[in-house]
Subunit: 401 residues, 4 copies
């Protein structure tokens, strides 16, 4: 009996060749494509898989699940790998792995396959996730295994009747979902070279942005963005809407020399207009509503969660523990943030909240002041006492009396 493999299918050359290759190896191939908000019509992909010879082809709309279960925790954590990259692809990989495993279990498949090469992070994210979800499934990585040169792959493709894409000459390697778009390879491999304009797609060049800002108001409920300018959106739509609005103003371009999990540095270019707008707005609302203790410790949680996601460990039991921490803090993150989108910036101009801890009566320097300034004397005395004792003991000689 034929072995069955569920293949993460993107419609591109690599995974199309993989369908043929698996069939050659005697597998029955079930193609599986996810819509995580790339913003293009994916139905042709479902068909193409069948054309390639797949026995079955799935197209799963996972946008809202992706937004709520994967993107939202990253937003609430202000997850930015190396303080720069909002984890675009890293977030979608565990969800894709989950869907592949679900399909494999339903179809009684023997193996699950992805189209990653052997030097990126995504192979790790896929394989660790799949093993965590079902250790009994075999994981296959045909592209990594066959290790063909580009030429060899094209020759095989031609021979097997796999259509060669018209943009084959594009030097870039791109991944996209509703949280953003990543781009690498080609000229980007030179970290001294500025990314050319054709490396970008979601965002306008600063030179081409409108000379009038858009000022929008984003409303949050328990850390979840629920409305823009008074209009309610479901989360995936809200993000896609902001991609358009903020993208027009050139918000969210990121150029990053980053440390991959597999031990090398790579140069990546990201576009995250919606993500950067929401991350900025959410952080500002937290600055208003979270007590200092949380404000100063939450980054420790965020950094760890960010690393877990980047490093393919979404399904480690540490992840839900970190999320529990986050969730407990988000109950206070209610309110509205006014954001000016202009010339590549998402500038928070105002923020207000029923949970605001900003107390004008304590903060003001006007006569409304209710702060007890005399308390500072005692506070400073004890705050500085350890340093003072240290000096008294250890600087005996150097201090003039």
């Amino acid at each position: 009996m034929k072995k069955k493999v569920v293949l993460a299918y993107s419609g591109g050359l690599d995974t199309s060749v993989a369908v043929k290759w698996f069939i050659d190896k005697g597998y029955e191939v079930i193609a599986c494509c996810l819509d995580v908000g790339e913003g293009k019509d994916l139905n042709f992909i479902k068909e193409k898989a069948l054309d390639m010879g797949a026995a079955k082809s799935y197209m799963i709309d996972a946008k809202e699940e992706f937004a709520h279960e994967y993107v939202l925790p990253a937003l609430q954590a202000h997850a930015m790998y190396e303080n720069k990259y909002p984890l675009v692809s890293a977030l979608s990989r565990p969800l894709i792995a989950k869907k592949l495993v679900e399909v494999a279990e339903e179809e009684n498949a023997d193996a699950v396959a992805h189209g990653c090469t052997g030097k990126g992070n995504d192979q790790v994210r896929f394989e660790v996730s799949i093993k965590a979800l079902n250790p009994h499934l075999e994981v296959l990585a045909p592209v990594r295994d066959w290790s063909w040169s580009r030429e060899e792959e094209i020759e095989y493709a031609k021979e097997k009747g796999v259509p060669i894409p018209i943009d084959l000459d594009s030097p870039y390697s791109i991944d996209q979902n509703l949280w953003g778009r990543s781009n690498e390879c080609g000229i980007l491999e030179d970290p001294w070279a500025a990314p050319p304009e054709d490396a970008y797609d979601l965002t306008a060049a600063l030179e081409d942005t409108p000379d009038q800002p858009d000022v929008i108001e984003i409303e949050f409920e328990k850390g979840l963005p629920v409305a823009v300018d008074g209009k309610q959106y479901k989360l995936s739509d809200l993000i896609l809407h902001l991609n358009t609005v903020a993208g027009k103003h050139g918000v969210g371009r990121i150029d990053h020399v980053e440390n991959r999990l597999v031990g090398i540095k790579s140069r990546e270019v990201y576009e995250c207009p919606g993500a950067m707008t929401l991350l900025t707005a959410h952080k500002e609302l937290e600055d208003l509503t979270l007590v200092k203790d949380i404000g100063h410790f939450k980054p420790v949680i965020s950094k760890k969660l960010t690393e877990m996601i980047y490093e393919g460990l979404w399904f480690s039991p540490l992840t839900p523990a970190l999320e529990s921490f986050l969730q407990e803090t988000q109950q206070y993150v209610n309110g509205t943030v006014r954001v000016k989108l202009f010339k590549g910036h998402a500038i928070v101009e105002g923020r207000k909240s029923p949970n605001s801890l900003y107390d004008e009566k304590l903060a003001t320097y006007t006569k409304e002041d209710e702060f007890d300034q005399s308390a500072s004397v005692g506070f400073i005395k004890l705050w500085g006492l350890p340093t003072e004792v240290h000096s008294t003991v250890n600087k005996k000689e150097s201090v003039k009396q």
Copy 2:
């Protein structure tokens, strides 16, 4: 015999009144003013102190000491309080305290005085620093002690012949040095209100910035910026130069609802054109030259150092220990960063270094690739093993075999 007090004198209303007040109380007043790069002529201040009745008046040019001993570690740490504020005033306070103590020791003074009120961070920074440097000196805070209303202070000033400043109606409270400018009070006390244009001074409004970028190259040696566009500067001059160049393009406006050390939230507006340009450039050079271990751990050091500085603990013995860590890492931070200043952005477009750890032969997806992709198989297996074992043990029932 008269008691002697060394007063941190700014030339403003508060400290001018304080001179008179101390004289009334029977003190001999020694005024002490520091130039830490506010960018205005401070010689008139020296004179004014004498006019007010000070027995002696010091004007100390501390710009280069400030740049090297205080600003540079903050730059190398990427010190940003609450990920937003590059510690403008917080950095100058310990240096001013140090100079006050030095003058007090030289003059055999009994006390040192500052002009802070009782609800800000600066009182803490001054007093803890002074006590650390010389626990035997008394620290006086006349403005906090007299707790007059504005009207009472003005009445006293008029009575004593202290000139009333013409900008008395200015609602803002401002502090400035070469690392930036801070502003609070007035309309800024409403966190929903956008800061009006008159709150800013060092930076152009986005609407008024040039339509042509400036592209500059900043050269670093062991983490120290030494040249811009091939021209060598001493550090204080380099920063002031960048304040001008980047300020023209509107770089470095920050609007922050922050947690003060004394337990309240306040809303502050900062302008740091040179600082933000250098912080961005330095971080990018580190991304290229520091090994991942350091890149991922250094932020822990930075966060602590940032808090120490913000919270007035510069002279705690923890500070030099944190700095030792930093210094050890900076030996690799050599190279050049190309920055495009445009529409409020300092965009790093390219970075290069003799210590670059970016290895194109390992990173490339071209046929030059030297990365051993087969190593990934074993790596992923062990990397994911704990999660896999966890699933095998704890998800026995839920996993379909």
Copy 3:
């Protein structure tokens, strides 16, 4: 109308004098004593308060609430301040504050009072907790306010008919609950002096411990100790039982020079036989059942929670967020730990669990080995790659080729 104050009453000299003193000041006093497991009869205290003139006297058995809501999170966090002190008094203070506030609200009292002096941590814990629970209640600290010498206090007591305790000469200041006993003052104030035997009460001296060990088995369910040697206990009883059993073997003596929140170092002696036994056993069960990611990150959470508790911030909203993290991890902490109590040690000799992640087939060096040793080659290659690239770049000259 008289003002009402709810006083945390211990039956000792200080709070007895405080009853009189409040009455003198025109207050109606409501005494409130909590049983948090000191292990002595507290009913006489209820009566004594009335004898002193209190209008009303509460005796609240809070042992089980204390055990579950305060001690259990500390156990599960392995909370040890400065890696030594398991937070005995620090844990009971917020609970006492909560009960005081509840009584005050029920009795429509105006104020709440505690008997702490002005140099310890407990005043902070009480006052911050009370303010957090009800910012409208006044907090009074009579002992701190009257600042009498010992002699003055005794004179006042005699005058007012407060009985002078027979152990007045005891140099020690003691606090005790089911999680342990703390002791300070007297000869203990000399950190070079060994604590004399009379400083201890819950634990036998090593010299006097039995020459036969007791070996016990402690059973945990989701991180909660539920049974000892097969016998179920409610938590407070289980801890008290272990205090007896482990105390007999001299387990849990701690001698600590610690950093108080108010800026000084103090020397404290603690006895925590039950606590140290449970902390040791629980940690060992976690070592068996928690995945490495959690095992290595949980100490970060624990350290923060420990500091929050020590520093009086139990009712900060950060605390429940930290607890959420903990709770999520405890679902795996099921099983049995075998502990040998002997000569001051609680030695874990064996641990077993249905959630054990120790996999003998992976760990063994016998022929049962299922670990894929060949995977290590690839793992090591990528694990060491950043360091290798760093050396290649930065040690060009020093390396012999």
Copy 4:
């Protein structure tokens, strides 16, 4: 021409077989054995290597270098992996790697080899260290490569004339240096089983320890232990001396289920009498002499350094940065610690220092008290202010006014 390999030679079966195996493969073998304080005569090993056919045999006394360059930072960091294991083998591996590379460079060897299997940590430590020190050297791991069963290895040994050790039946796998002794395998692979007495060698069983304690005084200079009971020792001798003295009292037995780097849990038994005595004493002296800021942050550094060492990253550039931090703190760690060695305990009974920050005049509750208790009022007010504001805002309904 023959290829040359420098082999880390221990004199045991595995590496003796490896000599033969390399010769069979056509290598010239240079054996290299290090004395890192195992406490036995190692000269016979040098001879044995030659007997086995090695072309050359090195015996290097590295005890003092090991003590100063590797053990001392671990002592000063209080490095305890997973809060239990003082990094015995993990510390010696980088030094052995360094010596192998030095010999290889001197001998113009092509490769370096170690005798580790493929499932432990040591293979990682060796290989990452060697690659860091000289990326051009090939690293060979014959035992991992040949993957023989025990029987196959013995057969090969017999055939090649390698003497079969008389303790071949010993179930244990042991490594030892001056910082301690590690033991694994055999019955220890069952985490529910108590380690049998024959698993231990350096420490007496509690049942067999003397009924009279030894009380010793250890003197530290800048964090370095320099004398015991007034007698100066060089560091390696001091540690070996304490191994004897503390071992007699049963100090330093550790039973640990630990997370290996390669993804599995293993159960290890350690004996570290000298290490545990010094770690305890050093920590107590730090508690007396380090300011709270350092005391509370240093554990973050220590945890990272511990993980770096355990995980084979000694030669990462992060390590010297962490050490720089440590070194800066150790200038204050001067003084004497009195330790009672008794019944498995190293109990610090007293500590004194010229840098002591314990100030009896501030700490005392006698009339000598110089602490300003009134300062506490203001301190508490501001310390609790964020929590109070949070409650006022967020608990409006629940709080009774």
